[in-house]
C-alpha cells in the first residue's frame, strides 16, 4: 500500500516573543512566540535538517527520489533538491524536483510523490519542505510567520499511514503573493482573502475528498487545516463539522508561526506523532487552490524509531535576545561589512570536494583503520595511498575536543564564533568546524555535539554551505 513510511521535522532553535516585536513597533501583540532561523540557516538547510530527522533508520540507497518544496528557495535558478539530496548522502540515480511559488508547494510535492510511487515509477521518494518567509516590518505577517521544515518519506511498502483518497482544485486569485522582486509578502484585503480564497477553497476540497472517500467528519481522528491565524482556523473547523476540541490538529501558530509551504506537512507530522493505528487523518492545504488527502494510520507507526519531529523541536528552544537580532539575521538591516575572506570561494572546488564538503564523508584507512576528515588520499597515520573507504560522519555524534570563542571571525551582529575541534564517535575522527546554536559561555571540552549543515558565508555570487556542530537538540539521537 502506498503511503507515508517515515516523517521528520525541523524548527530552528531560536524563538522570538511576539510581544517583543509588538513593543518595538508600539502595536498590539498576537501573543505567543515565533520561530526564527539563525543567520546561518535558510530553507535549504532547514529542509536538510528535516530530511535527516526523517531518514533515521532508513537506508539511503533505497530512496530513489527527492522533492524539495519552498517559496523561499535560496536560488531562483539552480535546483535545491539536488543539494539536499547530496547533503543527505543520496545516490545519484534518483529523480529530483523543486516545488515552489505557492503555499501549497509542500502538498504539491507530497501529491506528486504519492502519484509517482502509486504509478510504480519510484519506490521511495523523500519530500522535504521548508520556508522562511518575510512579513513587512510591523505587519501582522511579521508576527504570525515562523520558520520551519518537514520531511515525509513516501513509499510503496511499510507505510505508517496509507493514502486513502486525495483531491485537488485550482483557484486563480491574487490573495497573497510576492513578485519576482519582492522581499516581503503582499496581500489583498483580508476579508476577501480569508473568505473567498482560504475558507472557500478549504471547505470545497474538504467536502469533496470526504465525499469521494464516503467518509464523514466523525470518521476522522484528526483534521488538519493549516491556517494563517487562529480565528480563521477556529471558524473553519466549525464550518466543516469537526470538533475543535477533539478532532482538529493544533495549527502550530502560538509556539511556531505559519511556516509557509512547509506548514501543512509540519502539521501532518505533528498529527502523526500522536496518531494510533487505525486513525484516519484528513489534511487540506491551501494556496492558489487546495489539496486534500485522507490517510489511514497503520500498525507500522509503532515500529518507528524515536525522532525529534515537531514536538521535540518545539520543546528545544532558545530565546532570541532581541527583535533587532531578527532583523539582522534576515538581512532586513545590514551588518558591518567585514574584511574580505582570504580564501576565495570556487564552484569547482566545491564540486570536486563534494563527498567531503556536502556528503560529510571522511576516509577510513583500510590498512590501519584511522578515520580522517576531510577525505585523505594518503593516510596520516600509516601513509598507505588510495587505500580507504568513505564513511559518512554527518549523522554521527561527537564531543568537543577543544574550542575557542573567537571575537574576530563573526558577523557584526554575532561577533563571537565558537571554533571547535570535534571528535566524532565514528573512529574518533577529528573535525575542525564552527559551533552554532549555542551559548559560547557554556561550551566545554567533552560536551556532546552533533553536526548540522549551515550557510557559512556569501561569496563569488553564490551561497557557501558547510558543516558546523551544535549542542544536540532534544529527542531522537
Amino acid at each position: 500500500m502506498v503511503g507515508i513510511t517515515s516523517f521528520g521535522a525541523y524548527i530552528p532553535l531560536f524563538r522570538l516573543s511576539r510581544d517583543a516585536i509588538a513593543k518595538a513597533w508600539l502595536r498590539d501583540s498576537l501573543g505567543g512566540e515565533r520561530s526564527v532561523a539563525n543567520s546561518d540557516e535558510d530553507s535549504m538547510t532547514m529542509a536538510v535538517e528535516a530530511a535527516f530527522d526523517c531518514l533515521r533508520g532508513v537506508e539511503r540507497k533505497n530512496v530513489d527520489g527527492l522533492f524539495f518544496a519552498s517559496t523561499t528557495a535560496p536560488y531562483k535558478e539552480k535546483q535545491c533538491s539536488t543539494l539536499v539530496a547530496a547533503v543527505a548522502d543520496m545516490e545519484s540515480e534518483i529523480i529530483t524536483a523543486d516545488y515552489a511559488n505557492c503555499l501549497r508547494a509542500g502538498t504539491n510535492a507530497l501529491r506528486s510523490a504519492l502519484n509517482a510511487v502509486s504509478a510504480g515509477r519510484a519506490r521511495n521518494i523523500l519530500v522535504a519542505a521548508a520556508d522562511c518567509r518575510l512579513g513587512y516590518p510591523r505587519s501582522d505577517f511579521e508576527q504570525s510567520f515562523g520558520d520551519g521544515a518537514a520531511a515525509l518519506l513516501v513509499g510503496d511498502s511499510g507505510a505508517i499511514a496509507t493514502l486513502e483518497e486525495s483531491y485537488s482544485c485550482s483557484e486563480e486569485m491574487l490573495d497573497v503573493w510576492r513578485t519576482d522582486e519582492d522581499t516581503f509578502v503582499r496581500s489583498w484585503e483580508g476579508r476577501w482573502v480569508l473568505g473567498e480564497g482560504y475558507s472557500a477553497n478549504i471547505q470545497r476540497a474538504t467536502k469533496e475528498v470526504m465525499k469521494r472517500s464516503r467518509l464523514e467528519p466523525k470518521d476522522f481522528a484528526k483534521a488538519i487545516f493549516p491556517s494563517p491565524d487562529t480565528r480563521t482556523h477556529r471558524r473553519l473547523a466549525q464550518s466543516t463539522g469537526f470538533d475543535i476540541g477533539s478532532q482538529v490538529q493544533d495549527p502550530l501558530l502560538a509556539a511556531v508561526g505559519h511556516c509557509g509551504a512547509a506548514h501543512s506537512l509540519m502539521m501532518l507530522v505533528a498529527a502523526l506523532e500522536e496518531a494510533k493505528p487505525g486513525d484516519r487523518i484528513l489534511l487540506t492545504s491551501y494556496g492558489d487552490g487546495a489539496d486534500a488527502f485522507v490517510f489511514q494510520v497503520t500498525e507500522e507507526i509503532e515500529k518507528l524509531e524515536e525522532r525529534r519531529g515537531v514536538k521535540g523541536h518545539i520543546a528545544s528552544k532558545m530565546s532570541l535576545p532581541s527583535y533587532e537580532r531578527y532583523l539582522s539575521y534576515r538581512d532586513i538591516v545590514g551588518t558591518v561589512p567585514s574584511e574580505p575572506f582570504r580564501l576565495f570561494p570556487s564552484a569547482t572546488v566545491l564540486w570536486r570536494d563534494r563527498n567531503s564538503t556536502l556528503r560529510c564523508h571522511g576516509s577510513r584507512c583500510r590498512r590501519c583503520g584511522v578515520v580522517s576528515y576531510p577525505i585523505q588520499r594518503i593516510c596520516i597515520n600509516c601513509r598507505s595511498k588510495d587505500d580507504f573507504e568513505e564513511v559518512r560522519l554527518s549523522d554521527k555524534g561527537g564531543k568537543v575536543f577543544t574550542f575557542s570563542s573567537d571575537n574576530l571571525a563573526g558577523r557584526s551582529d554575532d561577533p563571537v564564533v565558537v571554533q571547535t575541534v570535534v571528535e566524532s564517535e565514528e573512529g574518533a575522527a577529528r573535525i575542525y568546524c564552527m559551533m552554532t546554536d549555542c551559548q559560547p559561555s557554556e561550551v566545554k571540552v567533552d560536551m556532546p555535539v552533533e553536526l548540522t549543515f549551515r550557510r557559512i558565508y556569501e561569496g563569488a555570487g553564490f551561497h557557501n554551505y558547510f558543516w558546523k556542530c551544535r549542542p544536540p537538540r532534544e529527542g531522537g539521537k
Partner: protein, 395 residues
Amino acid sequence: MESIKDKVAIVGMGCTKFGERWDVGLNDLAIEAAYEAYEDAGVGPEDIQACWFGTVSAPVIGIGATVAAEALKLHDIPITRVENWCATGHEALRGACMGVASGMYDLVLVLGVEKLKDTGFAGLGTGRGMHPLYEARRTAPGSFALIATRYFHQYGLSPEEGKRTIGKIAVKNHHNGSMCPKAHFRNEITLEQVMNAPIIAWPLGLFDCCGNSDGGAAAIVVRADMAKQFRHDPVYIKGLGLSFDAMLPHNRPGFSWTSFSSMVNSARQAYEQAGVKNPRQELDIAVIHDCFTITELVIYEDMGFSPHGGAKEDIDSGFFTLEGGLPVNTDGGLKCFGHPVGASGLRMTYEVYKQIQGKAELPSRQLKEVKLGLSHTFGGPPQVSAVAILGGEPG
C-alpha cells in the same frame, strides 16, 4: 647529511623600527632593514651576490621577489622569494645559509619584510588555510586559543589558573619590550591588566595576543672563513631546523593539540647540528614565537626548556625572565614587536645576534656572557616550525 655548523656566519644585521608605520611602505621597510645591515657589515649593494627575500602577503600574491629588486635596485643577481607561513623569515635565512655553504656564493643578503597595516582591518584576516569551506572563518587567535583550552583541560588548570599562568608570559615580555627602542609596544603591564583585558578569542585576551605591526629585518651572510674580514665579532650559524606537518594533523592518533611534532622535530634537527644536548642548560638566550602567550608556553615544553606539563612551574619561578636561568624573548618578543610575518624570524635572529655581540641598545637589558642562542618561529598552528641556533665562536 652534514651539519651546517660553523660553515657560514652573519656579519651584519638590520632591523627596522616595528609598529604602525602608516607613512612607509614595503619598499621603505626593505631599504631601512637592508641599509642598516650593509652598514653593520661594512658592505654595499654592489657586494651582494644573491638575495633571499621573505614576505607573505603584500602587496599581492604572485609578485615573486620584485620588491627586493625594485626597492634595493639589486640588479643582475639571483633573488629568491620564499614564503613558509610564520617561518618565512627563518626560511629566507636557511636558503641563504645553504647557498653560501654550498660554495656557490660568498656573500648574500637575507631580507624579510611585511606590511600588514595597509588592509584597513586589524589582525591577519579571516580564512587562514587552504580551503574556502574548511577554513573559511579560521583566524589566528581562534586557532591558537584551541591550544590553550586543551592545555588547561589536559593539565587540570581552571580557566583562572590557566589564564594567570600564560598572563605572566605577557607581563614578562612587556617588561623586556619596554627597554627595547625598536619595539612596537614599550609599556609595562600588570597581571591584573592581562586578566581584565577584553577577550579576543577565549581563553585568550588582548594581552595574550601579539600586535599587528609593520617591520623588516635583514642579514648579511658570508662564508665562515671570511667572517673575520668583515668584523671581529661575527656570529656563526650552529644549526638550522625546519619541520612540517599537515594542515590539521589532528586525525593522527595521539595528536593532543598541546604538543606539536613540527616544533619538536625542528628543535631536534637544530640541536643535533649544534651539538646541544640539554637546551635548558646550554642555551643562554631564546627568542621564540610568542604570537600568543599560550604558544610561548607550549614552545618551552616542545623545545625541551621545560618538561611537558612543567612549564607552569618554570613560569612561576621566573626561569625565563632576564635574570632567570634561560632568558626568553629578551626584546619583548612578538608580544611587543608584533608579527609582520616575513620579518619575524629575522627580527628574532637580530636580537640573538646583538646579544651575542653584547650590543643590545640599552645596557639594562644586555645579558651577560651570551655564547649560544636560539631563534624560533612557528606557524599555523600546527604546520611549520623553524629554529636557528647561533654562537659567538666557532667550534
